[in-house]
């Protein structure tokens, strides 16, 4: 099952891209672990939130093919 992952802030810099299509059969936590290894993300998952299709969601929420996934680093607006 393929999903689209979009990257923001330091994750985009580390990934070197705005987005990519990836395999995500094992859920969001496993997906972040795989991408962190591939792109050398240094933020541990515990410091992130995750959004699917533009809404915050739980790390164990189910995924569907074509979903848009965003891993959300600690925010610093304001």
């Amino acid at each position: 099952m393929r999903v689209r992952v979009r990257y923001f802030a330091s994750l985009r810099d580390a990934a070197g891209r705005d987005e990519e299509q990836v395999e995500a059969g094992a859920g969001l936590a496993a997906l972040y672990a795989a991408l962190a290894e591939r792109h050398c993300f240094t933020l541990p998952r515990e410091r992130l939130r995750v959004a699917v299709n533009g809404e915050f969601t739980a790390w164990d929420a189910p995924l569907a093919a074509g979903d848009e996934v965003v891993f959300i680093p600690p925010v610093s607006g304001g």
Binding site: A9, S10, A51, G77
Partner: protein, 137 residues
């Protein structure tokens, strides 16, 4: 309303959105780009937002504030893109009949914006040694 703006924030225009015949108290918070952060001289600053979710979460914040306090008008705008020193990064304005609600709701909105809305700050520094970075507090 909660909005993002890639253009300079027009505080005077936003203030007119708070006019209301029963408004006796208006509280405004402005976040301004400073020349220093954590002891380092800032030379350039950029904000990036995950816009779809930032707008949705921002609208939720405004709804929550309206549920907690008797507000007559609310406006909240956050900049994105490249900012200069002295530019407004965020403008939050609240009108209410009385000042307690105006102060408390304004404070709530900026506090929650800073921890919940997916917007990130990128700083570059004037002192050559320090590399630019995304702030992930």
């Amino acid at each position: 309303m909660f909005a993002l703006s890639d253009q300079p924030i027009d505080a005077a225009a936003l203030r007119t959105r708070l006019e209301h015949p029963t408004a006796g108290a208006v509280c405004v918070f402005e976040g301004v780009v400073r020349d220093h952060n954590e002891g380092r001289a800032v030379s350039a600053l950029r904000y990036e937002a995950y816009a779809e979710l930032a707008l949705r979460e921002g609208a939720r914040l405004v709804d929550e504030a309206r549920a907690r306090w008797p507000l007559l008008a609310v406006a909240c705008v956050h900049r994105t893109g490249d900012l200069a020193l002295g530019d407004l990064a965020v403008w939050v304005g609240v009108a209410a009949a009385h000042r307690a609600a105006a102060f408390e709701a304004c404070r709530f909105l900026i506090d929650e914006t800073k921890v919940r809305v997916p917007i990130w700050k990128h700083e570059a520094y004037a002192d050559g040694g320090a590399p630019s970075r995304w702030l992930h507090p």
